[in-house]
């Protein structure tokens, strides 16, 4: 069983750590770095709760080994908001009741984040295509869909404000 040194940047912070080859990225984030905002669900890529951004792309962190993240840039739900307050996507989920128990929410937020970074004005089909990769078992998807639409409008408003600033 080989051990490896990995250098990863998580939420802008550079980490160097030694990991067992078999450690998944999600276990590394939670157990080694203490970033427990990323949840673990099915551990075979179906539920999407462990979704993080790897070099900006929404990725199942249970379907990647920590050693494979060497040299890459990871963003977790802890990296969304500034030190104070919520990120606009988080605000939108709160305002539109996009979460109930909250277990699946980190994955939904990160998948939504990637979607809106690429396109702050996605259509229903595009949103559904992304949300289709995330399971929720208590809130229901209609309010999540509304949350993403609201998050998109908040993102557009913020970009417009930034452009004027």
């Amino acid at each position: 069983m080989s051990e490896h040194t990995v250098e990863v940047t998580v939420n802008g912070v550079a980490y160097t750590a030694t990991v067992d080859a078999r450690t998944t990225l999600v276990d590394f984030l939670r157990a080694e770095l203490g970033l427990t905002g990323t949840h673990v669900g099915c551990e075979h890529g179906v539920c999407g709760v462990c979704t993080v951004l790897v070099d900006g792309k929404a990725t199942r962190s249970c379907l990647m080994l920590a050693v494979q993240a060497d040299g890459l840039r990871i963003t977790t739900v802890e990296g969304l908001a500034e030190a104070e307050g919520l990120h606009p996507i988080q605000e939108a989920f709160a305002e539109e009741h996009g979460l109930q128990c909250g277990f699946c929410t980190p994955g939904f937020l990160m998948a939504t984040h990637e979607l809106l970074e690429a396109n702050p004005d996605p259509g229903d089909d595009e949103i559904r295509d992304v949300l289709g990769g995330q399971l929720c078992r208590c809130t229901g998807y209609q309010s999540i869909l509304r949350s993403v639409h609201l998050a998109a409008s908040k993102t557009r408003a913020q970009r417009a404000a930034d452009a004027h600033a």
């Binding site: 080989s2 490896h4 249970c62 379907l63 289709g132």
Partner: protein, 288 residues
Amino acid sequence: MKPAPLDYAAPETLAEAVALLADASREAKVIAGGQSLMPMLNMRLARPELLVDLRRVDGLDHIREEHGAIRIGAMTSKREVEQSPLVRERLPLLHAATLHVGHPQIRSRGTVGGSMAQADPAAEYPCVAVALGATMRVVGPGGERTIPAADFFVTYLTTALEEDEILVEVSFPVPAPGTGWSFTEISRRHGDFALAGAAITVALDGAGTVADSAIVLFGVGPGPVRAHAAEARIRGGRPGDELYREAGAAVAAALTDPPADVHADSEYRRHLAATMTTRGLAEAVQRT
């Protein structure tokens, strides 16, 4: 739900990767995007002693047109395929099939070579490779060889790759102008593995009758199933509902024993295969 203990190597050259696979002292397995292998590792359905990661090997991530074919490196992600204007324009069948592979979150890491080498009988890419007459470029200790897609997929999760060979590129011939195509898939939820699906290409001659076709099904056998009888049945025929139904009937008659599982029994998969052939052929002809 954690992988069994294993070693990991990320060599920088193909030669090193091949040497690691050829070393008989350890059971080694190639990992590409890991979207099929990682679940198998987590569930301990696969317990290799060594993972050989291709992520540092140069020259495996590209989509380019050369000599009438689109050549796609084995480590090219499905997201790159999905977003490639070249694929959309020259291989619309592959583009359409890509949208059925998992979800964007899976396509971001899942690779072209990984899907081919995994050879899941319910997967989209092997079927498209057979329908388009793709060629697999493979590197092993003895050098390089090419394998036609039709010979590459042997049976369930089994390809013609030797233990110490690595798939490095898939070359898809660009269909002749005017070739119609369709991709149909039935799954319980979008992004799930297919219950059954069909990739079809069709070319008409000057008289408007069927000159050539490829009808390939997935999810209904141990690998992609080429419907030779249905293709022969429609050759020279005049496109129309009757011909499409006959093609569907020929598919149903030729399918000996489609797999049965909790999602669909054998008879239902046979029915789906026939229906998708009938509908898919009509759609493909419309695109000629």
